[in-house]
Structures are given as structure tokens and as C-alpha cells.
Amino acid sequence: MTTGATECLLQLYSDRHELEDYQKGVPRWCPGCGDNAILAAVQRLCRDEGLRPEKTVFVSGIGCSSRLPHYMRTYGFHGIHGRALPLAEGVRMSRPDLDVFVNMGDGDCCSIGAAHWIHAIRYNMNMTVMLHDNQIYGLTKKQASPTSPIGLRSNTTPGGAVLEALNPLTVTLGVQNASFVAQAVDWIPDVLYQIVSAAFHHRGFSFIRIVQRCPEWLPKMMDPWLQDPSRVLMLDHEDGIRLGPDLARVYKNQEKHDPSNIHRAREIASTLDPIPVGVLFRNDSVPCYEDLRHDDRLRTAELIGKGLDAEFDKFTVWPEGREA
């Protein structure tokens, strides 16, 4: 198919963006917070993909991590605790022309937002989803989250957390229609970037669990992994991420893992130590909910008004003799 003049004209003069075009304000995160690395990775992605700021939206819930949209010079929606995903689904459904990113904390996603998380996986709507997993409630000052390791002393578990931690990877891989599951750590920025990029390019619900350090409340927790590169298992594959020679020298513990192999992906997902890093699973053929439910009708004020009226009418108590 040849390109028409119209298509050329639309692409003509598409502006080149620099990193600064995506940066806004000075992050208010604690020094050394892993959220900084995640911010740097997504800003780099936006620049490299030439995403138009007015066509890009970052949606979040509540938490330290959920402040990320504030630091992006794109559209953003700093939502309600636990509700980033339903908000993002709404954006995706009504504005398929936007690139949608979601940033959530572990409390946000795996605790109060867990039900939304499960169903969002099943809906498989096209969005890039980052779980900033610092294994603690950061913003509210150190309460245990579902991903806090057993024995962790926190303000809500002074005697140590009593339950085994929830594993976001195995949970995601257990849900029907999972189509992209990856894990990254905030301290290997090049790999973090590659994974975010692979997630962005996957059409569907691309879920990345990012092991994120919270130096404020859990200052030393990840040090053993930081200091010993062999405690990171790098998943290398042409359909996943590739390690450059510099990193390959440092991270020698590698496995060739084909992301289409869900059984091996589930095994890897269950591994806690070493921390697996890379694309665990990917299936490009899962349909996206927004495609299945695509509606050609224009969302005019009248149409929206009618829809809302119909919804409200379901709950309206009509005065005697004035039923709709």
C-alpha cells in the first residue's frame, strides 16, 4: 500500500522531542528512591519513541510512586488509591489515540486495588503498567504491604510480618489472558529501560513488576542483591531483552528464556532469589478488550447524556405517576 499525501502531511513536521520536553518539576521523592530510576526510564522511552506529550497519559493511584505523573510533562491522572487501573481502562476505552501508562505502588495495586488488577489482566487493554514494588507503604510511613517479606518489622507489624509475601508475578501469570509479564529492578537502568520499552511495544496489558528500593523505610533491604550481581538472574532472549557486553560482564548469571513458554515463565516467576530480571512471558495473540468492544459511534454530548440518563434512571425513585 502506498502512502497518501494526507498521511505524509500528518507526519511532516512531527517535532523532535528532547528529554526536557517530558520533564516537569523536581521530584519530591527521598534521595536514592528507586522511583527516580523509573521516572528516568519512562522519560527516556517517551523521547526515544517520539511520543507526543499531548497524546500520552500517565495514570496513577495514591502513594509515593503515584506521584510520577506530576513529573511528566504529558497528560496525567493522579487518581484514587487502588483505582489507577479502572481509570486507565476508561481513558483507553474512550481515547484509543492515547498511549496509556500506569504507575502503581504495591499497596495500591496488590492490596486495595487487587480486584481491579486481576480483572485488568483479563481485559488485556493496551497499556504499559508499572508496579513500583518497594514492599512497603511508603507515603503513609512504613506499614506492611502484601508484598512485604515475612518477618518484616513495620508500623503495622511491630513483631514482624506474619504472612508469606504475595508474589505479583505468579499472580499475574495465573490470570486468564495475561499477555505480557516482566520483572525489572530499579538499579540496572539499562535493563529497566529495555523492559519498559518491550512492554510499551507489546499491544495489550503489559505488566512490569519493578523491584524498587525505599531507602527511607527499608534502607538496607536490597543491599545484598545490589552488591552481588550473581543474585540477579538475567533472562536473555531475542524476543525479550538483550544484555550489552558491559552488563553481561557484570551479570553473569543468565538464562536463555523464551517468553512464549508459560510453564517455564511460571517457574521463573516463583524464584525469589536470585531475582529474575527480563521478560518472563509474552503472547501477542490475546485480544484486547477495547478492540472486542469497539464502538464506532461518536461520543457526542448527546450520546454521553443519553447514556448517563439511562444509568441514573436505574436508580431514580420517581414520584407517584411520573415513571420514566
Partner: protein
């Protein structure tokens, strides 16, 4: 044996003595078996289904009834329903054969109404309710080709209309939104009445709108839409809403929509020319509206580009979104000039879909054949035209290709022979099939969108025995002594002519007792120029009503035309990759080379071992060549996590690179203490302070001790 002179005279000139026998009442022996004709027609009639995709727009009646019976029968008395479904199908067939028009639901309903059997009626109604597809039912007949092709074309065009309407409405909606948003900032929108209207009825009395108007007017924000932009957007909206190419797109300016169905090539071409400019204007408006709706129209950049838009006409998707004219024309009604003009336009790539139909291949001096087959062959040579040559009887079999021809973006020429003229005793569809067998009208399809070479684009595979020059037939006949015998005969162009009653006197059937030695099969005369009267008299086998066999001498002028036909078939077949002379030569050459090589001693080919992929990648063990000497401070930048720690200590000393990862921008911009503190603070311990520059720095001994941990 009789005197051959009158036969020679006949063969050479067509002159014959009064009362000499003709082929009147006879037919080619190859058709001996086809007494019972209707039994063959299984894929007709067809249902022209109202579908959104051309691939699903044509189905045979039997197919629709079978699928419906299977579906409905699954939750009813399947066996009885199947029996009734057969009867219903038969009844519908009879109706359409008797030229009764209607959609399938209507025909089934009428069939139900005419029955007195309540059981049958209930089956018919169940079938009607569950029909898997509905649409007009069309039988073989002079209109079949046009109806079917028009239906496919309309289906394809409806898709375009849908897409355009959707685009136009989306753009108009968004441009309206821009204007509406701009309006909010105008004085008119802040007038008391405008404010009252925007609040709605419930609070009409609750506000003092005059005061409110003063308040909002005082906080006036400047309008965001310039006068020029508003003007431009209004112009775009007017163009898009006033367009005449698609019906039911947005509002109309009252002018009638353009017509795209024609029955004259000339009229279609004229319409294409006249609307070209209008199409450019609309296409341009759509492109500008696309930019405007995104807020990306930049006068400085785009004005000059759009001023030149479409000067060379529309191309690619811009052109493809517009309706494609459809012309259905009878071959006889087309003038030679029109045919010429048509080829010009097709060659220029103007998208236009043309169906040329004839029911007469041989009449009026072979006019029909020339119009249809020659036109198709000429279009084939243009390379960019979707060409299908078909018979009405074979349309159903070729429906997928026809659908593609109508849905493809470029020009298409469909040449169809429906049969009928000159063969009153033979059903039209059989005459059409006979023309295919005779290679007078080989069926083929050339699809320029299917690939880049002849092999993927062109096919003659739908012809019977495509590998042969002529289609052989076994036949049985009665000898004068009533003995039954069998033999083999070709069916070619001359036999096709013999089928046509109008040419009966071009044949002179000779009873066995009167045969002359010079008589040779006509097919031999096609291949050898030396077979000529008077030494050779070409004949074909004919049989009469009682299946008696005759050798009938043929007028030699038919031989020339038959040779031309055979020639055309051979060329087409080669293009279709069947019996291709280049391929034959290449294969022969290969075989010869192989033969030669097979005499040389052979070395076994080396088999490369395929090492199993190791699951663990062994990393290369070698120190990084990029590591600087430990005297200079440095950062392992690729491992930096952008935590802000170091840059917060000294912005000039530590800086971020293009990827927001830290490096030492200026080692002299700060103290050794700062380097050591940054190294200690770095969460990933990638800052290496090196050696101090200033030996007099305060507390150096302690700092050196702390720095030792970072190499």
C-alpha cells in the same frame, strides 16, 4: 467413394449445390451425452447477500438452504426439516427460473403460503426465520453477470461509504468542538441570555444573569482561536458537509449526490474527469481537518503545502477512499472508439470497474468475441488492471476473485460471456461452458494486487485440462448397421461454431459411404499450414438427432479463425505457467547439466553439526577496556539509577547525560570531600573518587581512608 470436386469448391469458397446437406439439426459429437441439461446446474441460482464484506456477498441457493437447514434442524426435527428444505429449495428454483423476482425470505414465504400442508408450512417458516443469509435470488440469464457484479461492487462501495462517513463525522464533531470552545470566550457567549441558556431550566430563576454577565466579561480571557483559523475551520466544515461523493455523510447542502453507476463507458469517463477537482478539494479538506482537529495545523508550515495539494491528482489511499465508478455495458453497445478510450483510461490507472457482457460470441462476424476476448487480452497487457474473463455459468465458482476485483483499489475489467444467442436448442449456460472448452473464451484471472510476478497474479487453472491444446471427449455413436461404437473427438472452436445454428451451412456432413480420401481432421489443419484444400479437406465429427455420426467438411475460412483462437489459448496458457516454453527450455538445460555432472565423481556434501543451544550463556571474562585509571574520579554511568544523590551534592561536578544518568562533568568543580561523600551516598556504589587533586585539602588522610572502599 464420390466425386470430391463439389466438396473442394465448398471448402474453398463456401459455395454448395442446391439441396446439399448442412449441419442443420446436428451437434458436435462431444456434446452427445448432454441430453439432460438442467441436472448440471448446481451453483445457480445465487443469493446476493446483504453482507459487509465482499467475500460473503454471494452464496448459492443450495449453500444457504443447506446451512440454514443444518442450523435450524439442530433444535427441531432435523430429518423432516431436511426433506422439506429440499422441497423448498426446488420451489424457489422453479420460481426464479420462471423469472419471479424477490428476496429469499419473500420467495420462501410465498412458497409456504401456496402449500396446504401445515407441517410443510411450519418448516418453511422455521427455515425463513433462521435463514443464515438473505438477499435477492438471481438465476442464470442475461442479467446474471451484471446483477452479481453490481452487487459485489455495491458491497465494496458501502464499506468505503461507511469509512468515509465515520471519518467525516469524527472530524466535523471535533472541528465543531474547536469552534464551540472558541465561542465561549466571545462577548456573545457571555451575554445574559447566553448564560441563562447554558444553565438550563432548573436554575433559571436562581441567578441574576445580568450581573453574572458583567462578572464573567470582566475576567475575559483572550480568545484562543484566531480569526483566520476560525474562518479556515468553517470552510473545512462546509466542504466536508457539502460533499457529494457519499450519501448520508453528515448534513448535505441540498445538492444531489453524484451517480457512480453507468451503462456507457463514455459517460463514466466524463464523470471521472469532471469530478477530479471536486475530489481533490474534499481530500484536501479532510487532510487539513485532520491536522486542525489535533491542533497541529501550522499556517506557516502547512499553508504552502496545501496550496500545492493534489496538483498531480490524488494518489494511493487518498484516491482509494473515493467511490469507484461502475460501468456495465453490453459488448454490442460499445463502440470501437469507446473501447480505445477505455483502454487508455485503464492503462492510466484510473480506478473504474467495468463489466462487459455479451451473449453472442460468433454473430455479426465474430464481433462479440472480439469485443470481449480482445478487450480483456489488451487490458491484460497493461499490467495494472485487474482482469477477469469468465462465463456467466462460472461466475459463482470465481466469486472470490470477482469480489477481490471489485474491492481492489485499482481499475478492473470483467468480461463475461453468458451464452444464448445462436444456440436456441442449447441452454445459455451450456453454450457458455462450451465456449470455455472450445478455448474460444478461456476463463482467467489476472490480479495485480496478488504479488509481483505472473505466477502469483495470473491463473488459467479454471479451464478444463489447461495443459492441453484441446479438450478430448469420448463419445458413442451408431454405425449405419446399428452397431454401437465409441471413439474420441476434440471439442474446439470449429465444433463451437457447429453448435450455433446460424452457421449450419458452413458444414457439409458426408455420409460414410461418400467420404473422400482428402478428408483430414480439422484439428490437424490448425497446426500445419500445408494442410490446405484441395489436397486436404478439413472435417469435424457431428451427430444427428438419432446419434448417427458424420464427418462434416468445414469451410476453410473457419480454419483461419480457429487457428487464431488456438494461438491465443497457447499464449494465455504460457502466461499462466502451463506448458511454458521458457520453463521447458530451462528444465531441459538443467537436466542436461545434471546429466553431465552425474558422470563426475561425487563428494558427499558436508553436514554441519547443529550444536544444541546452551541454556546458560557463558559471559566473556575480561576486564572492561573502558575502565579509566584509578587516579581520575569516574562513575560507572550505565549503572546509574538517577537517584539525584550526587547531583544534589554538587551540580557542576556531577551531571546527567542525555539518558539522565550521572557522570563526572568537571572533577575540578568541587572538593575531594564531595567526591567521597557522593561515593558513600550513591546507593549503587558506582562513584569512584580517584586520587585527591589538592594535597592541602583539609582532613585528607581520613578522606583517603574512606575513599579506599571505592577503588
Amino acid at each position: 467413394m464420390r466425386d470430391g470436386a463439389p466438396l473442394v469448391a465448398f471448402a474453398l469458397s463456401g459455395l454448395r449445390p442446391e439441396g446439399s446437406p448442412t449441419a442443420e439439426g446436428m451437434r458436435p459429437v462431444a456434446l452427445a451425452r448432454y441430453h439432460d441439461l438442467p441436472g448440471l446446474r448446481h451453483d445457480l441460482p445465487v443469493v446476493l447477500v446483504g453482507a459487509s464484506r465482499t467475500e460473503e456477498a454471494v452464496r448459492s441457493l443450495s449453500d444457504v438452504i443447506d446451512a440454514t437447514a443444518a442450523k435450524v434442524g439442530a433444535n427441531a426435527d432435523g430429518a423432516k426439516l431436511a426433506v422439506h428444505a429440499r422441497r423448498i429449495e426446488e420451489a424457489v428454483r422453479r420460481r426464479v427460473a420462471a423469472r419471479e423476482a424477490g428476496r429469499l425470505t419473500e420467495l420462501v414465504e410465498r412458497t409456504a403460503q401456496e402449500s396446504e400442508d401445515p407441517d410443510f408450512q411450519s418448516s418453511a417458516r422455521a427455515l425463513k426465520a433462521g435463514l443464515v443469509a438473505d438477499g435477492e435470488v438471481v438465476d442464470a440469464g442475461p442479467d446474471l453477470a451484471t446483477s452479481l457484479m453490481r452487487h459485489l461492487w455495491r458491497t465494496a462501495e458501502a464499506g468505503k461509504t461507511r469509512r468515509f462517513v465515520q471519518d467525516a463525522e469524527r472530524l466535523a464533531f471535533r472541528l465543531d468542538g474547536v469552534l464551540r470552545a472558541a465561542l465561549v470566550h466571545t462577548e456573545a457567549a457571555r451575554a445574559p441570555d447566553a448564560l441563562r441558556a447554558s444553565v438550563g431550566t432548573a436554575f433559571e430563576e436562581a441567578f441574576d444573569f445580568a450581573s453574572l454577565s458583567r462578572v464573567v466579561a470582566s475576567s475575559a480571557t483572550p480568545t484562543t482561536v484566531s480569526e483566520a483559523r476560525r474562518h479556515r475551520i468553517e470552510g473545512l466544515l462546509a466542504t466536508i458537509r457539502g460533499q457529494r461523493f457519499f450519501t448520508n455523510a453528515t448534513a448535505s447542502n441540498g445538492q444531489a449526490a453524484h451517480e457512480f453507476e453507468f451503462d456507457r463507458v463514455e459517460a463514466a469517463l466524463q464523470a471521472v474527469r469532471m469530478r477530479e477537482h471536486e475530489a481533490v478539494v474534499l481530500s484536501k479538506a479532510m487532510a487539513m481537518a485532520e491536522l486542525e482537529s489535533e491542533g497541529r495545523y501550522d499556517e506557516h508550515r502547512h499553508d504552502p503545502v496545501f496550496a500545492a495539494y493534489g496538483h498531480g491528482g490524488l494518489e494511493g489511499p487518498d484516491q482509494e477512499r473515493f467511490p469507484t465508478p461502475f460501468v456495465a455495458v453490453g459488448a454490442a453497445a460499445m463502440t470501437a472508439d469507446e473501447a480505445e478510450a477505455l483502454l487508455d483510461v485503464l492503462g492510466a490507472g484510473v480506478p473504474i470497474k467495468i463489466v462487459v457482457q455479451t451473449d453472442d460470441l460468433l454473430g455479426r462476424g465474430g464481433e462479440g468475441l472480439r469485443r470481449v476476448a480482445d478487450l480483456a487480452f489488451a487490458a491484460l497487457r497493461l499490467g495494472n488492471v485487474f482482469v477477469v474473463q469468465a462465463t456467466a455459468s462460472g461466475l459463482y465458482r470465481m466469486r472470490d476473485r470477482l469480489a477481490r476485483a471489485m474491492a481492489s483499489p485499482g481499475p478492473a475489467l470483467i468480461c463475461v460471456y453468458s451464452g444464448g444467442a445462436g444456440t436456441p436448442k442449447v441452454a445459455p449456460y451450456l453454450a457458455a461452458e462450451a465456449a470455455v472448452e472450445a478455448r474460444a473464451l478461456p476463463v482467467y484471472c489476472y490480479d495485480p494486487t496478488a504479488g509481483s510476478d505472473w505466477r502469483s497474479r495470473f491463473s488459467v487453472a479454471d479451464n478444463p485440462h489447461p495443459e492441453r491444446d484441446r479438450v478430448p471427449h469420448r463419445f458413442e455413436y451408431e454405425e449405419p448397421g446399428l452397431a454401437r461404437k465409441s471413439g474420441e473427438a476434440d471439442f474446439g472452436w470449429i465444433e463451437l461454431v457447429a453448435l450455433d445454428g446460424r452457421f449450419a451451412d458452413s458444414f457439409w456432413p458426408v455420409p460414410a459411404a461418400e467420404e473422400v480420401a482428402a478428408m483430414v481432421p480439422a484439428s490437424d489443419c490448425l497446426d500445419h499450414a500445408e494442410f490446405r484444400p484441395p489436397d486436404h479437406l478439413p472435417f469435424v465429427f457431428l451427430i444427428d438427432d438419432e446419434d448417427r455420426l458424420y464427418r462434416a467438411v468445414v469451410e476453410s475460412r473457419l480454419i483461419a479463425e480457429a487457428a487464431r483462437c488456438a494461438e491465443r489459448w497457447r499464449l494465455l496458457r504460457e502466461l499462466g505457467g502451463v506448458e511454458n516454453s521458457h520453463v521447458r527450455a530451462a528444465v531441459a538445460e538443467r537436466e542436461r547439466a545434471w546429466e553431465e555432472r552425474s558422470h563426475e565423481p561425487r563428494t558427499p556434501p558436508k553436514v554441519e553439526e547443529d550444536p544444541a543451544e546452551p541454556t546458560k550463556v557463558a559471559p566473556i571474562e575480561s576486564p572492561s577496556p573502558t575502565e579509566p585509571s584509578s587516579d581520575e574520579p569516574y562513575i560507572e554511568t550505565p549503572r546509574c539509577t538517577t537517584c539525584n544523590e550526587c547531583v544534589a551534592i554538587n551540580k557542576r561536578m556531577f551531571a546527567y547525560n542525555a539518558n539522565n544518568q550521572a557522570y563526572i562533568a568537571d572533577a575540578t568543580a568541587g572538593s575531594f570531600r564531595e567526591l567521597v561523600e557522593a561515593a558513600e551516598g550513591c546507593p549503587v556504589a558506582i562513584i569512584h573518587p580517584g586520587k585527591p587533586r589538592d594535597p592541602s585539602e583539609e582532613g585528607l588522610a581520613g578522606l583517603l581512608e574512606r575513599a579506599a572502599a571505592f577503588g
